[in-house]
Amino acid sequence: MPRTPKLPKLSPRAVVLVTLAVGLGLPAVLFAAVLVLSPVTKPLMVDWFVQSVLGHDPAAWPYTSLVYGVSVGVLAFVLINFGAIISGMTVWWEMRVSSRMQSRVGYNRAGAGGFFQWVADAVKLLFKEDLIPTEADQVLFRAAPYFVMTGFALTFVALPFGESLIAADLNVGIFYLTAVTALVVVGILLAGWSSNSKWALFGGMRSAAQVVSYEIPAGLAVMVPVLMAGTLSMQGIVRAQGAWPWEWTVFTNPAAAVAFVIFFIAQLAEGNRTPFDLPEAESELVAGYLSEYSGFRFALYFLVEFGNLWVMAAVATTLFLGGWQIPWVGPEVFEAAKGAGPVPALPWWGLQLLSMAVMAAKTILVLNVIVWVRWTLPRIRIDQMMNLCWKYLVPWAFVTFVFTLLWQIAVARLPELKTVTGVVLTVAFLATLAVFLRQVRANLTAVGDRVDLTNW
């Protein structure tokens, strides 16, 4: 007989308050730090600070570069912490979502809703013995996690958070991102090879094959928004789009919609997420390249794996989904709100906050799709993975690339084309979404269930 499961005891009010304070406060502090620090660490502001606060001539004062270095160092510290903490929170969120999908209770011990589980896990992993197999290649085994961590941390340099909120708006932004994320695979390959374990070797080889293959469709798909924006800079690509869905890259060009799908699939593969989690397929390769790792080194791999979700989602948002663009707020509004002084006026900061909120909301939405896909789909086989890449994604990515070239010529002749396509594709997308949601509801009611979002 269906036994009524004993619900977990409700957390005491104090625990709920602490959890809420940390759960909301920690990201708030991080976002606030990014909000304040990323515009402040620009040379212009540092010069102004040296001039008017410290009272030196920035050009002549020998310590100007030191001040600049310190401010960038603080920003880097904040960004790495942002990555680590977001990664931990993603773990918690993913576990809560998955337990909901699987009719489990899920995390519910440490803190309200088990929120502090990721802290507990991290602390546990830090205190664990750092085992290194005797037969392993000592140097490479120790070095491998740092490659992975470096590849992950470097992405935050060119990851936009808002209108002016970017550590460095490189003019080769997306190219830089593609390049540094490739470092992760070096670390994984080193881990697989140096562990001197057959399972780890399999994992490493699979990962190398997978990530290197999927770089190609991902790179080609990235070219579509680049062509449409005419720049490689992340902020430039966002500025080339608008705030409304029909102004986003993904909807203004039919090829871009295809490219988005290709890019999304390739990102899943590069991030080793289901259905492409072959390198660490636990039912086949035990733990893949992670087999011999423990303690802190293991924690680093996990941090990167989950932190990469944010990076993946943020890059997809930037390239295809309009980034941080706020409706009705064009560049001239930002300019007007900035004021005359070297330190921007308060309304400007408000707009920055708003753009950051838009960006974060879109990123979290994409992140949720990634989580949802993971807990729904089975894993594909390695030959199917290769087939999918080389037989379908690469040719289609080429098609989207060539189509976009022609499309840009057509749009230059006939600018209305862009708006019309945007509206048509947006409507088509919304209609598909509506059909999908209706089907979900029909499926739920067919098995005597109901849509219920209360039982968390």
Binding site: M1, P2, R3, S98, M101, Q102, S103, R104, K198, F202, M205, R206, T274, P275, D277, L278, A281, E282, S283, E284, L285, V286, W375, T376, L377, P378, R379, I380, R381, I382, D383, Q384, N443, A446, V447, G448
Partner: protein
């Protein structure tokens, strides 16, 4: 297997020997596969069994006839009703005990519930081996309800020890029938949902269809039984073809693999046969509950100290893993001279070496999962 290892000595080739187990997430217990691979492609996988040997058959010679019943649970602890039933039936044939009608119905009900529970684990772990975690937990959720039902029936959730020589241990508790019928209503809907979530998933089909095809001839030659045999297109079910107990009273179909999504005898056929069988089991339980006759649940005058006349008896029951045979030889004393259990998992291991040639590592996992081997049943 020694040959396989010795073959490698003094040979410098590209192949790699890999110990797939005994502690591997997808060997479903303690089994070792010695796998010879060339990169991702298998040359062969040789099963190495015996890690879970507990000499259960020998124990059967030491305990009395009644006393062996709890040990039979341990032969196949995922579906412990079937060894119970098989052993009880064999001894009943040996002693010529007539089992009351109601007891036979209760046996059918408990066995079919156990079959559903076992198949849920089977298809769930198969999904997990293929990489989908969610269907496994949905299956376990339904199994949990069945465990609760069986717990109410006989007090145990895993090693049931419910059947007795001459009948069953307990009658239905109050309200059990209604609860079970309600569960079955829910379960039939669950199967539809499960199909939508997993069985008709394109990735899942591509991972299983046309993989590790076992032709009907090989399936018979290697002595495959149950869903593994039927997956290869051989229409054989002990419940229908050699009816025992209450089964002649029920209407049910025997799902046979006909290449649902690929070739007949591939992993998907074996998988989907199990899914269809769950629906049929639910049908049988429903019929049995509705037609349940009144009467005793134990045969009268079954001696405490059973001393069958010298002789032998064989029983064949359709277990969740296929035909399970119990062969009991009596020498006229109160202890069996020989107890032998023939189980489906052991013969299924035999075909792995042949069927695994040329597969990929991920396919080996699918093959093992699709054969639904349960480690204790292999070794006993």
């Amino acid at each position: 297997m020694e040959k396989l290892i010795l073959r490698r000595v003094d040979r410098n080739n590209e192949e790699m020997i890999l110990n797939f187990g005994p502690q591997h997430p997808s060997t479903h217990g303690v089994i070792n596969f010695i796998v010879e691979t060339d990169g991702e492609v298998l040359r062969r996988a040789v099963p190495d069994v015996g890690y879970l040997h507990r000499s259960i058959e020998k124990i059967g010679e030491g305990t009395g006839y009644h006393g062996f019943m709890p040990f039979t649970d341990r032969i196949d602890y995922v579906a412990a009703m079937f060894p119970n039933e098989g052993y009880a039936t064999a001894v009943e044939r040996l002693c010529k005990i007539e089992v009351p009608r109601r007891a036979q119905y209760l046996r059918a009900i408990s066995c079919e519930l156990a079959r559903i529970a076992s198949h849920l684990i089977s298809v769930g772990t198969m999904a997990m081996d293929i990489g989908a975690f969610t269907p496994m937990l949905h299956g376990v959720r339904e199994r949990e309800t069945i465990n609760d039902l069986i717990e109410a029936l006989c007090g145990a959730r895993l090693t049931y020890n419910y059947h007795r020589i001459g009948g069953v241990a307990y009658d239905l508790p109050e309200g059990w029938k209604e609860k079970t019928l309600a569960f079955l209503d829910h379960f039939d809907k669950f199967l539809v949902e499960f199909d939508r979530l997993l069985s008709f998933n394109e990735i899942y089909i591509r991972r299983l269809a046309n993989v590790a095809v076992i032709p009907a001839k090989d399936a018979i030659d290697f002595g495959l039984v149950g869903p593994n045999l039927r997956g290869s297109g051989v229409d054989w079910d002990v419940r229908r073809d050699l009816p025992y107990g209450a089964y002649p009273d029920f209407e049910f179909e025997v799902p046979v693999g006909r290449g649902f999504r690929g070739t007949s005898g591939d992993c998907y056929d074996r998988y989907y046969c199990r899914v269809l069988e769950m629906g049929q089991s639910s049908r049988i339980v429903r019929q049995a509950l509705l037609q349940l006759p009144e009467g005793d649940i134990m045969a009268p005058k079954v001696a405490r100290n059973l001393k069958p006349e010298a002789g032998e008896a064989l029983s064949r029951v359709e277990s969740a893993r296929g035909e399970m045979a119990f062969y009991v030889v009596s020498d006229g004393t109160n202890k069996a001279y020989r107890v032998r259990a023939r189980t489906g998992s052991f013969t299924a291991m035999g075909i792995i070496e042949q069927a695994s040639q040329g597969l990929m590592i991920a396919d080996l996992v699918a093959l093992i999962a699709s054969l639904d081997v349960v480690a204790p049943e292999i070794d006993r």
